[in-house]
């Protein structure tokens, strides 16, 4: 009886670790690949059984740090696709707030 309990517990731990590492590995992929992975996952399995927000914050901490130079970019504006704005055009002029996001 005790032996079966131990085996059951071991099995649960192994499954949990497998789930944890699979989701973690997916979080470390590109957004498209992570999205494709999550499409096939029951949300409750990820959000209820794992410390998913903390895993996400760790997986997406990124390479930039405060105090480092912000990578320059030159992107077209939504209003006028022929107009572009470079981050470096503000250098020495004024601080910049960047709000990254999408519709969904």
């Amino acid at each position: 009886m005790k032996k079966w309990l131990l085996r059951g517990a071991a099995l649960i731990i192994v499954c949990y670790l497998a789930l944890f590492s699979t989701v973690m590995a997916a979080m470390l992929q590109t957004p498209e690949r992570f999205g494709a992975f999550m499409k096939h996952m029951p949300p409750a399995l990820v959000w209820a059984t794992l410390p998913a927000p903390r895993m996400w914050l760790w997986a997406r901490k990124g390479t930039l740090a405060e105090g480092e130079r912000a990578p320059d970019f030159n992107l077209r504006t939504a209003k006028d696709r022929h107009r572009r704005v470079a981050l470096s055009s503000y250098e020495g002029q004024r601080p910049v707030v960047l709000v990254f996001g999408s519709y969904t």
Binding site: P31, E32, F34, G35, A36, M38, K39, P43, P53, W56, L57, A59, R60, K61, G62, T63, L64, A65, E66, G67, E68, R69, A70, P71, D72, F73, L75, R76, T77, A78, K79, R81, V85, L87, S88, Y90, E91, G92, Q93, R94, P95, V96, V97, L98, V99, F100, G101, S102, Y103, T104
Partner: protein
């Protein structure tokens, strides 16, 4: 978004603001979430510049974004450089260095931290003489 619009109105004379429209978080062809289905926010992922322009403009209008918006390239180069997906906030100093980088969204998306950073880096307002 209302919090960011207010911040924009309060600081726009001293600070540049930009929304950077990046790849969709929950497009219908990948990881769609029930909230978006409920609100009929159904958007396919945007792979070409034309598609992005279209959705970015719908997004600006529907979310009532007052900040001037920029659009990331189809290769997502700016999203990659800033680890920005699905959303994230940055404040860049006048000298081009990073003053504030939020934790990854959605959990780390805190507009009030942007205001705190701006208060820290902007010179204190000159007291009005009477």
């Amino acid at each position: 978004m209302p919090a960011l619009n207010k911040l924009y109105r309060d600081y726009r004379d001293r600070v540049a603001f930009h929304v950077v429209y990046i790849e969709e978080a929950h497009p219908i062809d990948a990881w769609q979430v029930s909230d978006n289905k409920k609100d009929a926010v159904l958007v396919a992922s945007t792979k070409t510049a034309d598609e992005r322009d279209k959705v970015a403009n719908v997004c600006v209008v529907k979310l009532g974004i007052e900040l001037p918006a920029l659009i990331d390239e189809p290769d997502n180069r700016v999203e990659r450089a800033y680890t920005a997906w699905p959303d994230r906030l940055y404040v860049i100093n006048r000298d081009g260095t990073i003053a504030y980088k939020s934790a990854a969204g959605p959990f780390g998306f805190k507009p009030e931290d942007v205001e705190a950073a701006l208060k820290r880096i902007l010179p204190a307002p000159v007291p009005v003489a009477h």
